[in-house]
Symmetry: C2
Subunit: 344 residues, 2 copies
DNA sequence: GATTAGCACTCATGGGAATGGAGTGCTAAA
DNA sequence: TTTAGCACTCCATTCCCATGAGTGCTAATC
């Protein structure tokens, strides 16, 4: 008893049907499908076999069958075909971010938003990161006396949002001078090296400035990391649409889990550098997500993979459609970022 | 038949009890309260009167009474007393944002987060805004060729995240020079005037730069506005805890409404410049919020009100507690911002 | 040997009917 | 003016039963 072609065809029909209807699939509806010239009894026998093999499950004795995670895995590996995008979808996706140039944050947020609106699921977009980040520009912006905003521009994006203390006697002019100095001297330097070099080469000059230099170096080193751990999240509410979560308690747990950005980041990260990757139900390794799948795509700056975006939905999501959307969006984001940051 | 003292006492007891239990309050539990030396029958009569006067409602004939919006309004105006904060609460609130200096965004997000964690409701914090914003510093940070990040620092905070196109021939040096020029010449200028003056005074010099100057001015003028329209939102999930929203459909609608930041911004804005303000149920003017109240507090930089923070919860929230928390947090945020940005 | 018709069986679902209980309004007595 | 008492209302819960979809198994058929 192995997976002969007929079993495969039946399994595929069950998955397709279940994704469409959401209700357990019985032998009768399949036998009515004209592409099968089999009676319901025959199909029942095959279904019983498929259940023994672990591809199908029965919610209860007198219900139809539901695909197992194993079945979905087989489906996405061997049976699924990408579906074509509708004109409307392409319109929405190609229109986004075209009108204005925006900051990195805004681009990420918009990407997530479009992704969730089109799929009707929850979208995650990881900030771009790169182990070979290089410095493009450093700017110290004076705030109140004794404080400055540190703006670090790397070839993978802008890392901001860090305020550090500066010696009171350093005015706007001095901060400007220092910004120019560092930007010029360390232009195109790898971010992981910049800190060490600055400590060595500028240590003397800035010795009198107390902890200022170390603070600055710390900020520069952690900034890209902090950036990396950030993800844009959109459409969490869509989780509530899954019939499986009509139970309010489960729904709340799920929402809470999704909003833990750290663990979501890990999930994206774990997907690996594949063009498209699937993690189905139990493969996600978290009980609360046992009815969910995560489909991810890698996006690139130039030809270098720098980040991952993904969609979380019910295991019975229309994978073909989701893959097409992710494929389109990851390329789209890639080209936006490449334009925004490309080496001159 | 008017609101004699006894009616007031009964009404207050009903509101307190209902806020505590969430279940309609019957005459019997009140008569068992030793502070009333009245039989349940007497209380029933008074309750019937209070219902005629519009202060109480009955879900159905044989249920207890529930306070109406009118009753809550009377309660917060005349009967409520602030409750003391627990040691734990004070510890959490005083610890937040103490350890590190952070950017404005981070401070706002943390404030919202603390607020929602302590109240267990949904917290909204408006970015600081001021009609008398003054320029502190402008910095153009070179990105890829032809693009620059505009960083505007005002006395009310940092407005960032805007990228503009710049003429390709303007290099990092030229951008730095221009930044210094503008920062010096327009230091402490009102933001609403800066644009006009720049157009007049720099128009000649930058005539050859195409739309660069207008783009820059646009960005500077809209930046504080865009900033103003931004709010930090936290704890939206807490909405799902309200028993009133155990219906998944309503819950979804509510979540969707809360995440429309524009309309949330308007709601905060409408609260006016009062120290503490309440908007109860129907007073919010949106059907979906008919079971919710919004309590807001104004926060200040120095002595000038610059923003509003608020908490959305069920109309039966413990107003006394919420007011105490908002009061504490608004002062706390005010002093953080004042320190961060105070005039030297 | 593979397929199918037929049948008994299981079990989730949904619609009453019965029950219990909380709370009310009203009346008459204190 | 207050209260005890009582009839009444209506929600919530439980139980029961009919329904129907779908199954597994067996025996007949191709």
């Amino acid at each position: 008893m192995d997976l002969n072609p007929r079993k495969l065809r039946i399994l595929r029909a069950i998955v397709d049907e279940y994704i469409l209807s959401g209700a357990p699939v019985g032998s009768k509806v399949l036998s009515q499908n004209p592409s099968f010239k089999l009676s319901s009894a025959t199909i029942r026998n095959e279904m019983a076999d498929l259940e023994d093999l672990g591809y199908l499950e029965q919610p209860h004795t007198s219900a139809g069958r539901v695909p197992s995670d194993k079945a979905y895995r087989l489906y996405v590996n061997n049976m699924m075909q990408r579906s074509n995008l509708t004109e409307d979808e392409v319109k929405v996706m190609s229109a986004y971010c075209q009108n204005k140039v925006k900051g990195l944050d805004a681009v990420m947020r918009e990407t997530a938003s479009v992704l969730s609106r089109i799929t009707h699921y929850t979208a995650l977009v990881m900030m771009p990161e790169s182990t070979t980040n290089r410095l493009r520009h450093l700017q110290l912006v004076p705030l109140a006396e004794g404080y400055a905003l540190v703006v670090v521009v790397t070839d993978a994006g802008v890392a901001r949002d860090s305020v550090i203390r500066v010696p009171v006697e350093m005015g706007a002019d001095e901060l400007g001078r220092l910004s120019r100095l560092i930007s010029q001297r360390y232009y195109n330097c790898r971010m992981i090296e910049v800190g060490d070099r600055m400590m060595k080469e500028l240590g003397g000059e800035l010795q009198a400035r107390g902890t200022f230099l170390t603070d600055l170096v710390d900020t520069m080193e952690t900034a890209p990391g902090a950036n990396a751990h950030r993800i844009a999240l959109s459409g969490t509410n869509n989780m509530l649409d899954f019939p499986a979560y009509s139970d309010i308690d489960r729904a709340r747990q799920l929402l809470a889990a999704v909003e833990k950005k750290d663990s979501m980041y890990q999930m994206l990260k774990n997907a690996g550098p594949f063009e498209i990757s699937f993690r189905i139900g139990s493969e996600l390794g978290q009980d609360i997500f046992s009815d969910c799948s995560l489909v991810t795509a890698t996006y690139r700056i130039g030809s270098m993979p720098v980040g991952t975006m993904g969609v979380i939905g019910p295991t019975r999501m229309p994978y073909g459609k989701v893959v097409s959307v992710l494929d389109y969006m990851s390329k789209s984001l890639g080209s936006i970022l490449t334009n925004l940051l490309e080496e001159d």
